[in-house]
Every structure is written in C-alpha cells, then in structure tokens.
C-alpha cells in the first residue's frame, strides 16, 4: 500500500470534512470534477453540500471565506494554481491577515496553493509564492516537503485559528509516495532534520528537500556528509533547529525554488548571520531560481530552477573555505 502526496492532501480534507461540521471546501472545479489535480476527488459526493464549485473569483472566494470564518465556519479555499492567488492578494494580506490584529476575532481560513513548476507549465502555472505571503504579519505559511507532512500539516492548518497559506508542491503530487500516513506529526513551526551530517547544513523546503537529498547522496560518495533541515513551514520559521545544525557543521546553504530577491532563503541567512555569526566557518550561501519569470521549455526550466547538480557544486565551493 502506498500513498501519494496528492492523496495525502485529499485524505486530510476528507478527515477534516468528516470530523468537523464547520469545514467546507470552496474552489474552482472542486465539486463535480474533483479539482484540477483531483485533490478533492469524490469529496463532493461523499460530503454533499460541503464541497462547492466557485465562480472564477479568487478575490470573492477569499473574502467570502473570511466572512464565513467570522461566523464560525472553517473554510478551505482551493486556488487552482498558486499563480492565481495574486487576484486575491488584497483579501489575503489586507483583510484576512489583519482581521485578528484589528478586531481580536480570529480568521481560521485555509487557502491551498498548488505551487511550483512542472515541465512545460510555464510562467503562470509554476510560481512559488510562500515568500510573498510570509512577508505579511498575521499569516501562517506552510510548505510541506513529504507525504506525511502534506497530510498532518493540512489537518493542522484547518485546526489553526489563523489564516494558513498551504503551499503544496505540484511536482510532488504524484511523484512522491509514502508507505502510510501517520496519525500525528511535528507541529507547524518545527523544522525536521531530514538527514544528519557534519560538513554542511542545507536548509530546504518543499520540493527542494528532495533535491537536497539527491545531492546529499552524490556528495556522500565523496565522503562529504551534508545535514538537511526541512523547514516544513516558513512562517513561523524554526530558526533554533537551523542554528543548532549550523553549530554542528559551521556551513550553511539555503535552497529554494522561489525567485531570488527577498524571501525564505534571505531570511534564514540574515537570521543566521545575526544570531549565529560565531558559528560560521564560511559565508552563508543561497540557491534560488533565476531572477526571471519561470520559462516554458523544459530545457530552460531545468536550468532556471535549482538542481541537485548545482547544490553539489555549491557545496564544493563552501567546503573550500
């Protein structure tokens, strides 16, 4: 029996619908079709009236979720692609994120963002927007990189009383599999050491955790053992685990698929440079996608984003310090 990353997401939603009558799912094509990626397959049938097709209105999808949440519901809004969430930007960052701050009334909505690139998906079906939303106070931003986390973190997202931006990585949907789903997992805000090592700390999240693991295997053949920290959530971010790892290895490499200017990697490096300067033997380094929109042709796309080869090469450079 094996379960994919996507199935884990579906399972989490099914459990939420089953266990909590306040939960409903609102998104484009989520009901009859079961979602563009089948993340809600059969759920409309299993839970009639709780999984609804919305018009193409991301702004109103989020606005109505906020209103429903104020009245006690726990809506899950599915954006068809993270890239389209920008239409709802103002509702997310100006209304949802500020509601509790302004009124002391919580806003327990979950917005699922199918994020990241696949070959041929192009500039508007490949974006990683966690950095954008993490920037705004009041939001929780999750970036699961394993099947188990996709499940437990989505369940947790629905339970959290604050607006959660759930960045699920599309590349992992059907490619990442696990034997089974756990009952519980680490809480949001705790990072996980995905691999222990001593020569270099690689901080990653989402699909890049897998890419880092591949790089680690290659480096291991050269007797270089890297430690991989899977952030799991980027807001809140677990700096303690990162610093503890850097204390062991004295070198830091942050890898993320998002655009380079400002973002998760920059935050980790700034924090480590400030709070962990005395731990470093080498400058902290980051790898992101190139500073261009995501290209369409796979040849371009493969070079645009970080790869295990680039991680290996950068690791070598860091070890020369």
């Amino acid at each position: 029996m094996s379960i994919t990353y996507l199935e884990a997401i579906r399972e989490a939603q099914a459990n939420a619908l089953r266990d909590d009558p306040r939960v409903y799912i609102y998104g484009q094509d989520v009901a009859t079709l079961g979602g563009a990626f089948k993340a809600t397959k059969n759920l409309a049938q299993e839970f009639p009236g709780r999984v609804l097709d919305s018009p193409i209105s991301e702004d109103a999808m989020v606005g109505s979720a906020i209103g429903a949440a104020i009245e006690g519901m726990r809506p899950i809004v599915e954006m068809q692609f993270a890239d389209f969430s920008s239409v709802a930007f103002t509702q997310i960052v100006n209304q949802a994120a500020t509601l509790f701050w302004r009124t002391q009334v919580p806003c327990p909505i979950t917005i699922r963002l199918p994020s990241g690139g696949n070959p041929g998906s192009g500039p508007f079906h490949s974006q990683n927007l966690e950095s954008l939303y993490a920037h705004f106070p009041g939001l929780v931003v999750m970036t699961p990189g394993t099947v188990e986390d996709a499940y437990t973190m989505l369940v947790e997202a629905v339970e959290i009383d604050d607006p959660v931006i759930f960045c699920e990585h599309k590349y992992l949907y059907n490619r990442l599999k696990a034997a089974s789903l756990p009952d519980t997992g680490l809480p949001c805000g705790k990072a996980r050491v995905a691999r222990q090592g001593r020569d270099l700390t690689i901080v990653a999240y989402g699909v890049m955790v897998q890419e880092a693991l591949t790089a680690a295997k290659l480096l291991s053949q050269e007797h270089i053992e890297v430690e991989i920290v899977d952030l799991r959530s980027v807001k809140p971010i677990d700096l303690e685990t990162v610093l503890a790892s850097v204390a062991r290895t004295a070198r830091l490499l942050c890898v993320g698929e998002s655009f380079p200017w400002g973002g998760v990697n920059a935050e980790i490096i700034a924090a480590v440079a400030t709070h962990g300067f005395h731990l470093l033997d080498a400058p902290p380094v980051r790898i992101n996608s190139k500073d261009t929109p995501v290209p369409y042709h796979p040849n371009l796309w493969n070079v645009h984003k970080p790869s295990s080869q680039v991680i290996v090469k950068t690791a070598h450079q860091l070890l020369r310090w």
Partner: protein, 397 residues
Amino acid sequence: MPKVPIIMPQLGESVAEATIIRFSVEPGISVEVDEEVIEVETNKAVMSVTTPCAGLLESFSVNINDTHPIGSVLGYIEASVEDAERLGIMTEAVADPVASSSEPAPKNPARSSESFVSKNDIEVPVSPGTTEFVSPRLQARLQDLQLHSTEIGVIAGTGHGGRVTVHDLEVYLEGLNQLPSKKASPMRLTVADSMRRAWTRPLATIGVSLSLEPVLAHRKTFSQSPGPALYLAKALAIALSETPQAAGRLVGDKIILPNSIDIGVAVEVEDGVIVPVFTKLDQKPLSELAARYITWLEAARERRLPDEAKTPGIATVTNFGSLGITWATPIPPPNQTLIAGLGRGEKRPLWDESSQRFVPRIEAEVTISFDHRVIDGGQSGRLIQRIVQLMMKPETL
C-alpha cells in the same frame, strides 16, 4: 590646479529645479568668493548662483534655457589646493584610492571567474586562500579562550590554503594541556602585549664599541655619581635635539616628529620592565638626572611613579650591561622607533698608536635598534657617531 564645481544651490523650500537665464561672468575671468556668476529662474523668482571660492572661472557646463535640478554641477572654478581641500574636493594626488594604498591591487590578477567579484570595476578577491583568514567561528573560539588571534600564527593549519581551523586549534591546545604550566603575571602579560605590538615594525640594529674611560673618570667628580647609562641617555638626548627626525614615527605618509626630547630609561622590576621618562632631557644637567634616577628606580619597583615619569617619551635607553650582557638587540616600545642599549664594560686590550703597544682600557658595546622604515643605516650611523663623540667628552653633556 584642482577644479571646484559650482553647484545649483537650494533656492527655496519647495524648489526642485531652476532654469539658466544668464551668465554674469565670462569663462577665463578671475573671480572672488561669493561672486554672482549665473542667473537662474525658479517658479518663484530670479536668483543668483555665486562662486564657492575664489579662482579662475574655468567653464560652464550648462546652457541658457536649460533646466537643472538642485545639486547639479553648473560649471567649474580652478581654485587653490587649500580652497579645494577646505571644500572637501579630492585633489588629483589622492583621487585614486587604489593607487595610494600601501599595497596596490595587482593589475592582472590570476583570473578565475569564481574567485573574483567586480565591485565598481575594482577586483575584490573572494576566496580567502591564506593563513591569515580567521573565520567568525574561529574568532569566537579564540575569544572564549581569551586568546589573541596572533596566537594561531604558530599553528600549522590543515585547512584550505594552510588556514588554521578550529580543529587545529583544539589539537594544539590539547597538546599544550599535557605540559606543565603556570599563570602569567599581569606585568608579564602587559610586557608581552607591548612587545607583540612593537614587533610589527621592521627593526634593525647597529652597534659600536665605546671607550668608557672618559665617562668613568668624569663621574668621580659627582657626590651622587650618575651611572654610564645616564651618560648615554643624556648623549642620546642631545643628539636627538640636533636631529629629531631620527626618532620620528611613520604613520601613513606622514612622519610624526618629536616636540620634546623626552627619553625613557628602562628599569627592571619583578617579572618585567618599567620605563620612567625624563622630560626635556637635553636641557637637564646630569647631576639632577642622577638624583632623580635613584628616586624613580625605587618608585618604579614599588609601582608608584609620579605622573611626570609617565609621559610617553620619544626614545629609550636600556642598560643590559648591568646584567652582565655584552651586547644585545633591544626592541623599541610600540610608541617609539628608537632604543639605545649599553652593554657590560670590559677591560680589553686596545692598540695605543703613540706608545705602539696594547693598553688595557674599559670598553662597552653601544647598540641602537631602530624602525627601518623611518631611518636607514646612514642616519642611524651618524646618530651613533654623535653619541660616541659626546660620550668621549662627558664634560659637554
């Protein structure tokens, strides 16, 4: 002749730009400071732009009817160096920061696209690759252990390019832990730090053999007779009052000159050295010197020297001869560049031309160590010869 720019001034609270309407002076004309040279129009009024200093109006760099923002350059004045410096304009000599640094950047460094980063066209080496590099982690470890970063100079590094790693440091320290040790006294640590800093200059030493006979005879005329080292101190003082630049200090491109002939005389104290300073020694009589020296010797050993003795000093005299040492290469303290030392007086056979035979004479070696960046063999040689001259005629001291 440096060029000073004429800048569009702030012409009113909300004014951001102005239009050139008239030039009041022709280029090539001599101008005074604050002279009106350009008329400009803002949305409120017609105003004048004046010269920032006197000089020759070299050129205007704008045209009539052009509009330019506040702060833009409107023209240039050829001005004096003083005026240019006063206004903060860099003169040509220091305009190129790369050329003026003591170690200029190489013109064609070994090109590797990974190891260089271009910052405004200045090559900045990225890879440390040297034993000098101390990582933040290593620095933090040294701080924890209260070790100076220069301590690692003796450690053979196993890191990239021979760098000392934290591991190397730990191995080294563990090796030391196996050996017996005792705590260094505060005096020892003070002297150690002073010597570390003193050693950052290229020092050289020269020496002569000096007959002590005249000095030994002269000192018998005193009730409280000064030691030969005090004669050396007075001779050094007089010689330096004649050529003070021999005790100069090089900082950047300037030689800092002494403004008072203050000479220190080194005194051994428990586990270290203290140097009381005799101010304006060139003007003080030897008799006074002798009495004061006895007093200050006591005081130094009890660490209660008066403030006057703690004046910085421009050169030092050390009498290692009293310790039985024939000659030595003393080290000038970090704030001085010159030190003279007197060795042990010994009876030696010296050739006497008049009697055509060897005669026994008491002689001692005088050595002078100096900062070779400030003076060379020639100047130091002349200095030591003058000292010898003075000490051969102690009545002139």
